[in-house]
Every structure is written in C-alpha cells, then in structure tokens.
Symmetry: C2
Subunit: 161 residues, 2 copies
C-alpha cells in the first residue's frame, strides 16, 4: 500500500455530489478555496505566477464500485479507466482550476468541480507546453464530452462518509 | 492517512532518473508499457478508443525533500508546488502518454517519462474538452518550459529504494 497525507482541503459551495458540475470546464464561474496546511504553505512560493494549477485530490465522497461504471455523460456501462467517474479503484481526482490569488496558505480558485472538504494531495502548475497534447481520438466521449455543460452529477455514487 | 494500492506497473527503458526526459512531451519516441494487474484489467474496456491517457503514478524513486526545490529547468530555488519536480510532499506523477494498443491487461504506450517499475495508481482518458485550458501565465516556467527538449533529469533527487 502507498500512503499519502493530505496537504490541504478544498472549500467549495457544493456540499454533495448531487447537482455538482462534472468538470472544472463546466464550473468556470464557481469560486472556492484550497486551504493548505500551515506546514506546507512555504511550498506555495512562486505559484502565484501561474494562471492555472492542477489539483490532485482524494475523492472521498465517491462510493467504491466495480470495474464498469455508468458514466454521467452516457447510458452504456464503460470500463472505469475509460471514464472520469469518481469511482476509480483509487479515487484520485484531477482538476485544472484557475488560480485567482495566493494569500498565505490559501489559494483562491475558480472552476471548482469538487465537494467541500475534499482532501488535497498535490498541487502542480499547469503548463501548456507539458500538458496540452493533440489527441486525435476520444473514444466514447467523442460527442458526449460536449454535453459537459448540460449534465450535472447526481447521487448515484455518493456516500455520506 | 489515505492509502492506495497500485493497479499496475510501468515498464520503461529507463532504470534511473539520471538522464531521463523531464516530461512526456520530451519523450514522444520512447515506448513502454503499463502492466495492469489482472484483477483490474476488465476496467480497461473502452479505453482503446482514446489516443492519449493520463497516467497517475507514485514516483517511488524521488527522494523526499523540503518545500523549496531547485528545478531541473532553472537555477533558482522554487516553491515545490510551483514545480513539476518528483519530490513533492506526496510524490504523485502526472503523465499524458500516447496509447498505442491495449492487449488484455497491457497498455502499449509512447511518451514515457517514468522509471521502470513505477507503480501506477490510476489511468484516465485524456479529453481535450476537459483537459485543455487557455493558461495566460506560466510563472517562472514561461521561458524555461521551452528547454524541456534540451534538459534531462539528473541524479540529484534519486534514491535507490
């Protein structure tokens, strides 16, 4: 087993998955914060020069499930690793959010597609030179991805813990 | 603490950090494999429709360090969260690789910027509609990112374990 300790916590207007935007891109107007633990705050130096950051999280509210999942954006069960579902075997979240300000250990962010209280495992700068690739094929999401602004998450995978 | 179990392992021509490309984008010609554990292989269904995937890894060869780090691409110490260094407090790796083929539990990939034996925590489809943002500012990496094809990793952070 590999063990990580959260470096901070997401503060968000969403208290549950039900009704939440599916991706940051569908949540551009949604503001929130990342509260980084004081002992890690010195590691945020130089981050304020970046307009966007990757936030890697532990999706604590997704109920673990099987290896096929019915995606929010489809009506056919799909192999879980071909989806962005919150119920991967290791429920790791990957969000790219806009960084508005860094004040001490607090990041003011926009594009929040995460539930309040989500543990943050890592923060990295978003760098188009590294992170943008020309992807020719996007499988079952080819047309479905365009519906990301119309569809919201629902409670199907949610736990209360 | 949050505990994850690897779902598979990276097979790569690189046996150590020293001399390795810094990012997938600088390793486009480097082929390798992800060997997914048999119990998770059914979760790969539908993944073969995607040309690129995110691979989230545990960077087991990076020596944990402090909250400032000297990046491979710079000569000024930077806050660790503003870097793509392998020595973040939780050493989680984020790679976008080209998916060449899926055969049973094995993914044939290109763009390998990972050491052989790296544990894989998660695989997600790369979807430009979700993953590409127009980042106006890239901080200290503004010019430095362009050197990614010239500079290689070295042994400064490497452990043997």
């Amino acid at each position: 087993m590999i063990s990580y300790r959260p470096i901070g916590t997401v503060r968000s207007p969403f208290t549950r998955l039900d009704g939440m935007p599916l991706q940051s891109v569908a949540a551009e107007a949604v503001r929130g914060r990342i509260e980084v633990l004081p002992e890690f705050a010195p590691g945020l130096k130089d981050l304020d020069g970046f307009s966007h950051v990757h936030v890697i999280t532990h999706l604590h509210r997704g109920r673990p499930g099987g290896l096929e999942v019915m995606p929010f954006l489809d009506d056919t069960p799909r192999g879980v690793f071909s989806t962005r579902s919150p119920r991967h075997p290791n429920p790791i979240g990957l969000s790219v959010v806009r960084l508005i300000a860094v004040e001490g250990g607090t990041l003011e962010i926009a594009g929040v597609d995460l539930v309040d209280g989500t543990p943050v495992l890592d923060i990295k700068p978003y760098v188009p030179r590294f992170d943008v690739v020309g992807a020719e094929r996007t499988g079952w999401l080819e047309g479905a991805a365009e519906r990301v602004n119309e569809v919201r998450a629902d409670a199907r995978f949610e736990t209360d813990s």
